[in-house]
Point group: C2
Chain length 182, copies 2
DNA sequence: AAACAAGTGGGGTGTCCCCCCACTTTTCGT
DNA sequence: ACGAAAAGTGGGGGGACACCCCACTTGTTT
């Protein structure tokens, strides 16, 4: 890639980060180009679709979360590691404007999407918890991601605290407290 | 209201129902006006915001669901009645294009919103299940609605079956099957 | 039947996404 | 070091949209 192309690429991603943090995933692409100091055609050449731009903006966050999943594999309690990670994902998706929309609406056909990365990163955590017997088998990480995502999206207006509470609720179920078994 | 005003109002709602069923909650307002045979200004005068139109379109469905909640109050098993109703709401919101978006994005400040109607309708079902002891106290119907809504929204691309499965998961929790207690 | 209020739609403005095309900048072989 | 090919750029136009103003039409009322 040519030097100036990379320079513009970075300028666009930086400007997009700010605009999306302010206006959400549907921030105006023209305004992003304007504040990056490039023509709208340039933005459109680097990022043919809105989601390719969102992917570039959120790629870093997603990689961080994936790495965090790797770290948590070393924790002693598998169930706790899984729920901790899901809470972190939910908190991030709720707090970071546009992330939840981005994860939900990205075209499902492509591989290398943010959602697929997160699912792949969380899979070992889930498998470990299932092996341990603390999570019922038959549950897939894709299911849990959709759940966490949906909660993030629906609870976004209420703030991260509500999202976390709802995630806790969904992971526990609505039934009465179960007495710890011998 | 004048006779022709009501006539146009109905024409617009009918056209909007079709357009939204086809294109989702963000269907073009101009095209709705065009296919209703009225000017865009007329549409905009009857429905100042997109959500006021969505409310008119989905008001019937919402009232049906609310009535269904009333019927289920007569069921013998309170927990079953609650979960059945939540499943019906989820199925409806997942199947009917635009409903989930509409419920989620409607301005929270107004009363008489579709979401508020559903919450109010479900409240007795929840209270009965809590009194019965089959649902842990501290859970509000608003929480459950957000949950059901989020699931509908996030699972929409995968279809109603996936949404129902995820709702079951969320109501049960992820833990291993609990042996029926004496 | 006539006057008044309520309702209507065409057209204008500003914004947005997307694309084409003439021009500029970087890179690389000599 | 230099000039040509290749890669990149941005201005501007087309099409669609939401929203609003205003002269005109239509229904209602006494």
């Amino acid at each position: 890639m040519r030097a100036d192309a990379k320079r513009n690429y970075d300028l666009i991603v930086t400007a997009a980060s700010e605009a999306i943090a302010r206006d959400g995933a549907y921030a105006s692409l023209e305004e992003i180009a304007r504040s990056a100091g490039v023509g709208s055609a340039t933005l459109h050449r680097h990022f043919p679709t809105r989601w390719s731009l969102l992917q570039a903006v959120f790629g870093g966050c997603v990689r961080n979360l994936a790495a965090r999943a790797g770290d948590l594999l070393a924790a002693s309690d598998a169930l706790d590691a899984l729920t901790t990670w899901l809470h972190e994902v939910t908190a991030y998706a709720t707090t970071t404007r546009g992330l939840a929309d981005s994860l939900l609406n990205e075209p499902a056909e492509e591989s290398e999407t943010c959602g697929a990365t997160l699912v792949a990163a969380g899979e070992p955590l889930l498998r470990r918890a299932v092996d341990e017997g603390s999570v019922r088998p038959g549950i897939t990480m894709a299911d849990l991601m959709i759940l966490a995502n949906g909660i993030s999206l629906a609870a976004q207006p209420m703030g991260a605290a509500k999202a976390e509470q709802l995630l806790t609720l969904a992971l526990r179920g609505i039934g009465p407290a179960v007495r710890p078994q011998p």
